[in-house]
């Protein structure tokens, strides 16, 4: 069974995206896309695949993949490129394609990975809304919208998209590696590493369930000392992030690069005090 599962798990799952440091060369332009808010609280956008369509898709920030139905995959002639087809075609699954030109409204993204399948939920939505809006043919997910700075405004029923240089690489392996490496062995805990040197030791007793963590020590001559942090302070937030446990505080500081000034809110003598800390390079 284990072997069987392992072989099943060897099939890559999902998509991975790597943050690119380079900025787009041209000044990015912002485009607006109108959407149709439907009574179930979802919204529908108009999508073209390589110039074919338009098709109605649901826009879903909770979807890590993009889905298109076999019908529009055939209609837009993208089905032929499908890779990694499943052995048992459940729900009409035809594998994965990269859509060269994936256009939502007038907003164009290149090489957007999409799964071809008849998702039962999409089908049910389609049946519900077909009469009024036309059939629903899939879900727009992360691989599309991650490439943009995006706003969603339900009151205006519109979204805006500005290319942000965040690249959706088609690596496809992180998740599987995580799963494979954890098979049969004890999974390793994650390590939260501050990005800079603060000069603090924090503690929290295990039976202490109140907000924040205690400052046990402030090391002399450090960023924490310069900011006025004191032993006995209760740290509530670091740069707007809750610090309700020691690992939480480490996670919060992992976002604060050396030289960047951030607010730290501490409780001291029953009052909340806002301090500014600028961590240094160190370990």
């Amino acid at each position: 069974m284990k072997k069987l599962l392992a072989s099943l798990l060897l099939i890559p799952l999902g998509f991975n995206f790597v943050r690119a440091d380079e900025k787009p060369l041209e000044k990015p332009k912002t485009q607006t896309v109108k959407f149709e808010l439907v009574p179930s609280g979802h919204f529908i956008v108009s999508v073209k695949l390589n110039g074919n369509g338009p098709y109605n898709l649901i826009f879903d920030t909770g979807a890590p993949t993009t889905l298109i139905t076999p019908r529009i995959a055939k209609d837009a002639k993208v089905a032929g490129d499908a890779k990694d087809k499943p052995l048992i075609p459940l729900f009409g699954m035809m594998g994965q394609v990269k859509v060269k030109e994936f256009t939502v409204g007038d907003v164009n993204a290149k090489d957007v990975p999409a799964m071809i399948m008849d998702h039962p939920t999409v089908k049910a939505f389609s049946q519900e809304y077909e009469k009024k809006y036309g059939s629903i043919e899939g879900i727009v997910g992360f691989p599309f919208f991650a490439q943009f700075k995006m706003t969603v405004d339900y009151s205006a029923k519109e979204m805006t998209f500005t290319p942000n240089g965040y690249k959706a690489a088609d690596v496809m392996q992180d998740l599987m590696q995580t799963m494979m490496s954890s098979m049969g062995s004890k999974p390793q805990p994650r390590i939260a590493a501050p990005a800079g040197l603060w000069g603090l030791e924090l503690t929290k007793p295990s039976d202490d369930e109140a907000d924040g963590v205690n400052v046990k020590t402030v090391f002399a001559g450090t960023a924490a000392a310069a900011a006025g942090l004191k032993a006995g302070d209760r740290v509530l937030t670091i740069d707007g992030r809750w610090t309700d446990s020691v690992p939480d505080a480490y996670t919060a500081t992992s976002y604060v690069t050396p030289g960047k000034s951030v607010h730290v809110v501490v409780k001291r003598g029953g009052k909340e005090v806002k301090l500014t800390v600028t961590p240094k390079i160190g370990l």
Binding site: K2, L5, L9, L13, F17, R19, P39, S40, G41, H42, I58, F59, D60, T61, G62, A63, P64, L90, F91, M117, H119, T121, A124, F145, M150, T151, D153, S155, A156, G165, D174, L175, T178, G184, K186, P187, Q188, P189, R190, I191, A192, A193, P194, L197, G199, E201, L202, T217, F219, A220, G221, T222, R241, W242, D244, P247, Y250, I281, G282, L283
Partner: protein, 282 residues
């Protein structure tokens, strides 16, 4: 398997709620910066407290009709359930945003159950924030930034209408949560959501081309105890020399507390091996 998992990963959910007419007044227009993380599954994860309890891990999900959380959490925080909706006193979203009297739905989503059983997201997920909360804000997403921007808008969001059977069924997809749970048990997959703080050296450093130079040794720190001195140049860590000081820092940045770290330092012309036991601090 892949496809079963895929089905489970999608945040798309039917409305498990009945419509009712209550509306929430819009808040004054100011922008809140909400810290988020992308999970290993590329879900947008924010932290919330409900009735002051938490923090809990939620996904931002325009594919969900409402604020949805596990039944266990709704119970733990003391939500009041009536007519399909559970009402809470307060929902705090990390970053300073607070919503009075939010309504949500207490239901164990199969998508979250499946992901949690395998630890796929890398974090234990407790619920999703859907339409009935999201519609009250204009939200800016930018994954080159570390925070989302939420600006309240004056929008009386109509309650979501349910479109499927009474059980909130999703055409047989519900079995995926249980199926992944069983499969992960058989495969020996155990999720591990613990986060450990990294170990502390207690030295301020300067990045030079191929070495890390010690600029300051904190009094009472592991660095001082091990005998590191200002001006020492760290050339190797863990017996390895690396091509740049950034690499060197990267190599030692993620060691847990209590690790014995062997450093090779140059002091003047002399080369020394110094072992530091990494302690607690940041």
């Amino acid at each position: 398997m892949k496809y079963l998992l895929l089905l489970g990963l999608l945040g798309l959910v039917f409305s498990p709620v009945k419509a009712d007419e209550k509306k929430d007044p819009p808040k004054k227009a100011m922008t809140f910066e909400v810290p988020y993380r992308l999970t290993d599954t590329k879900h947008i994860h924010v932290r919330v407290k409900i009735n002051g309890k938490g923090p809990f891990n939620f996904i931002i999900d325009t594919g969900a009709p409402a604020l949805i959380m596990t039944e266990a959490i709704a119970k733990k925080v003391g939500g009041k359930t009536e007519d399909g909706w559970t009402t809470f006193d307060k929902l705090d979203i990390e970053g300073g945003l607070s919503i009075d009297k939010p309504r949500g739905v207490a239901v164990d989503m199969f998508q979250l159950k499946g992901m949690n059983s395998m630890g796929l997201a890398g974090v234990e997920l407790h619920g999703v924030i859907g339409y009935n909360v999201l519609a009250r804000y204009k939200i800016e997403y930018d994954f080159t930034e570390t925070k989302l921007k939420w600006t309240p808008v004056d929008f009386k969001a109509p309650d979501p209408k349910r479109i499927v059977d009474k059980n909130g069924g999703q055409g047989g997809l519900e079995m995926i949560g249980t199926l992944t749970q069983v499969l992960s048990m058989l495969g020996g997959l155990k999720p591990n959501f613990t986060v450990h703080p990294r170990g502390f050296l207690g030295a301020e450093l300067e990045l030079k081309e191929k070495e890390l130079v010690i600029k300051n040794v904190l009094a009472g720190s592991p660095a001082e105890e091990a005998g590191l001195k200002v001006g020492d140049r760290i050339e190797m860590a863990k017996g390895k020399s690396l091509s740049s000081s950034e690499d060197l820092l990267e190599a030692v940045k993620k060691l847990p507390e209590g690790t014995s770290l062997k450093l090779t330092v140059k002091r003047g012309q002399e080369s020394k091996d110094i072992t530091v036991e990494l302690g607690k601090g940041l």
